[in-house]
């Protein structure tokens, strides 16, 4: 394998592994802001118990998110030096803002949130929790903006030619608010919330099955399922808006997502299928006109197919197609879990539905898988470009590295990451088995009186 392929595999692997954690931090961050806020408002110690329990899991996901995030940052330079030179001027300001505004906020106040219970006032502690959550969200903002610029570049000019060509910012705000930024950021953040929410759902379901921590579980489950229902509906609108954006700005990607080879009236959407890239056809259950409807709100208007795209600009079709469809299936599973769960909870029969609780317990995986395949759709669908229509992936790689180096680092990182995942799951498991701290052990929760 050549350096380009190896580097792509390495970047994909480190990204996917990294992306297990930040969504959990972002989602749990939101959850903590709610529970600690409820505690300060109602003084019901159950909310404090929840906050203290989820804070520990937050700390775990945060540490892993930071550690694996560093690999991402350096990964741009180590394996994609030419790409870094090309986008540095554009990426720079977004990345700078990320470091200054997001990471310091998050890391600075994390210490207070974790260890400051008795050192600061309750209000100040809550303020720290909010800062950590806001910081986590900010960090998503800047990196998604930078990635969106790679999908739909705007507000720049090209300086120099050949090896020395660089993208240079001409309009900062046009670069930040490039056509896909807002859509993609919304989509990503909602996905992150779902990751956090379904972790709570899953652990609560586990306690329900074990008939443990009854009061704690009831209230966690209620908050989480309500949030899940709202977010899942919002995600539908966000998805619709994103897809329209892709149709307009990256038609090749949309064509790959649905395997549309021919531009024709009543473009179909495939419910389940398989793309044969050799014969350029899709086998499966199709609904004619549905894709046309989603893109242009009428069943007839054709959607651009791959026949209008030069062949050397085709993304790998089947993998993009499958990733995109799996994402939708995951959404469907989450909808079943959230709405049915809320219905049973309202009927007060949830704790008796053994099978359904098992389903909820595994639901933690649905948003995670959706996030992974969602990014695969976005990034593989962008191929063969690393920056849409400006720089090919093959031209972005570091010129001076050799396959041996990348194989070495790939093996090293894969081993470490696998070990980390095992350790993370082991610790998460022991945290869950240990359960929330009982009330008596928590007094005094804060410095002074609340």
């Amino acid at each position: 394998m050549d350096v380009v392929m190896l580097s792509r595999i390495q970047f994909a692997m480190t990204s996917m592994f990294h992306y297990i954690y930040p969504p959990l931090s972002i989602g749990l961050g939101l959850f903590l802001v709610i529970t600690e806020g409820m505690y300060l408002k109602t003084k019901n110690s159950l909310y404090l118990q929840m906050t203290k329990f989820w804070v520990k899991i937050f700390a775990l996901t945060f540490a892993l998110g930071v550690a694996t995030g560093l690999v991402q940052l350096f990964g741009f330079g180590t394996n994609w030096a030419n790409y870094s030179r090309f986008v540095g001027d554009v990426f720079g300001s977004a990345l700078g803002a990320e470091g200054i505004f997001a990471f310091f906020l998050e890391a600075g106040f994390l210490g207070v949130m974790l260890f400051g219970w008795k050192k600061v006032s309750p209000k100040m502690h809550y303020f720290s929790t909010i800062c950590v959550a806001v910081g986590a969200h900010f960090s998503a903002v800047w990196i998604v903006v930078a990635n969106s610029w790679m999908q739909t570049p705007q507000g720049f000019k090209i300086v120099g030619t050949g090896e020395k060509a660089r993208a240079v910012v001409t309009d900062f705000w046009a670069m930040i608010f490039n056509p896909s930024s807002v859509d993609r950021l919304t989509h990503v953040l909602l996905g992150c919330w779902l990751a956090g929410i379904f972790l709570v759902v899953s652990i609560s379901a586990f306690y329900m099955l074990k008939k443990k921590h009854h009061a704690f579980t009831q209230i966690s489950m209620k908050i989480a399922l309500c949030l899940a229902c709202v977010v899942l509906v919002l995600q539908l609108f966000s998805a619709d808006s994103s897809a329209k954006g892709v149709a307009k700005h990256q038609p090749a990607k949309l064509a790959a997502m649905e395997g549309i080879y021919k531009t024709q009236d009543y473009s179909p959407m495939t419910l389940i299928g398989w793309v044969d890239e050799k014969t350029r056809s899709v086998k499966g259950i199709k609904i004619p006109g549905l894709l046309s409807f989603f893109v242009s709100r009428n069943f007839k208007t054709p959607v651009t197919g791959l026949d209008e795209i030069p062949q050397d600009e085709y993304p790998p079709v089947n993998i993009v197609f499958q990733s995109y469809h799996i994402m939708i299936y995951m959404w469907g599973l989450m909808v079943i879990g959230a709405f049915l769960g809320l219905f049973f909870l309202w009927k007060k029969t949830l704790q008796n539905k053994k099978l359904f609780l098992w389903f909820l317990m595994f639901s933690v995986g649905f948003p995670q898988i959706a996030n992974m395949v969602g990014w695969m759709t976005a990034e593989i669908g962008r191929q063969p470009w690393i920056v849409w229509k400006l720089l090919r992936t093959t031209h972005g790689v570091s010129p001076n590295i050799v396959p041996g180096q990348v194989i070495g680092s790939l093996i090293m990182l894969a081993t470490i990451y696998l070990a980390l995942l095992v350790l993370f799951l082991f610790l998460l498991d022991s945290k869950i088995k240990h359960g929330p701290t009982e009330k008596e052990e928590m007094v005094p929760a804060y410095r002074g009186n609340v």
Binding site: G88, G111, T170, L423
Partner: protein, 339 residues
């Protein structure tokens, strides 16, 4: 053309902050295994517990500032030091998780295992950062497109290794002084008894790298010949270094820590004075193939935006940095939420 220069100073300032702040928590890691009991080790970890990840963010800032303001330097740096960067990342990952994981499970073997990982990670990072810095000062072979033309073995030469060991010595001293400030009772006396050895080790290394610099890279003092005022830099650094043992003997620990910070800053500025305006010096065709502040900077607009971000952000960063350090000032006390 002044914008590049200003941004260069921002990068240097971020480097100084990184070295001063992460320096002490890396130092604590270097000394970690010398504390034998579990409780002592927990005190060490909790001394840096609330602040170490904030300190490490400065490393992200340094690399981010390079990527943003000097993308060429970032690209050449990372792809050149491919293996060292990977090893450093490994150190950073293991160190971060060892702090977090150690306390999460009650088992002596589990804890001892993470203790070793923490110490080893701290060593790899300190030594690695030093070796890379040594290579940057020493210079590396680059081609006309600023791509590295050498191999890994080019990085292993006496001067770079010397800088690596010096960094370890410097951080160990810095961390020991920090621990003296954060501990009490028996452990405090124990840590204090390590101080003379730490300082001694560092002073020996300091003399060695000074000789090394003059021997291997005599041009490092050229700029001081041209601008005699720059002689102040080594003098201030030297004064700071020499004052450390005196202040420690007087038990003015806080002042000794500040002096130790100044020593770190002084040494870094000295390296900058010696290499300016080169950011990555090429050992072949130095004039044309090197990356300087001027031939690798981003566009004027990007630099302006960056400076605005820094102008808004840095006061905030300082404000909550100050707040966090103030919240956790004083001696370490262990409680239920501690590591």
């Amino acid at each position: 053309m002044t914008l590049e220069l200003i941004w260069y100073f921002v990068v240097i300032l971020a480097m100084v902050c990184y070295a001063m702040l992460d320096g002490f928590d890396l130092g604590v890691g270097l000394l970690h295994l010398f504390a034998k009991e579990d409780k002592e080790r927990r005190i060490f970890l909790n001394a840096i517990g609330p602040v170490w990840d904030g300190n490490e963010v400065w490393l992200v800032i340094v690399s981010g500032a390079l990527f943003a303001g000097f993308p060429n330097v970032f690209a050449t740096f990372c792809s050149t030091f491919y293996i060292p960067v990977m090893v450093l990342l490994m150190g950073l990952i293991f160190r971060a998780v060892s702090i977090e994981f150690r306390s999460k499970h009650h088992s002596t073997r589990w804890r001892k295992c993470w203790d070793v990982v923490f110490a080893l990670g701290s060593f790899v990072i300190s030594f690695g950062v030093g070796v890379v810095l040594g290579n940057l000062i020493y210079g590396i072979p680059l081609d006309a497109n600023n791509n590295f033309t050498g191999t890994f073995s080019d990085f292993i030469h006496p001067y770079a290794l010397l800088v690596g060991v010096t960094t370890v010595a410097l951080f160990a001293m810095h961390g020991a002084i920090f621990l003296v400030m954060k501990t009490e009772g028996k452990l405090h006396d124990k840590v204090r008894s390590w101080i003379p050895r730490c300082i001694g080790f560092f002073l020996v290394m300091y003399v060695a790298i000074t000789v090394g610099a003059v021997m291997y890279r005599p041009y490092m003092i050229d700029s001081m010949h041209s601008y005699p005022i720059l002689y102040l830099v080594p003098l201030v650094a030297l004064a700071a270094i020499i004052s450390v043992p005196f202040l420690m003997r007087k038990k003015w620990d806080g002042w000794a820590f500040i002096s130790s910070c100044l020593s770190i800053a002084g040494l870094l500025v000295l390296a900058v004075v010696g290499t300016f305006p080169y950011m990555i010096r090429s050992t072949v065709q130095t004039q044309t193939n090197s990356l300087t502040i001027y031939n690798s900077a981003s566009s004027e607009l990007t630099l302006k935006v960056l400076l605005i971000i820094v102008a808004i952000g840095v006061p905030l960063v300082l404000a909550y940095g100050f707040y966090v350090y103030r919240t956790f000032r004083g001696k370490v006390e262990l409680d239920a939420t501690s590591y």
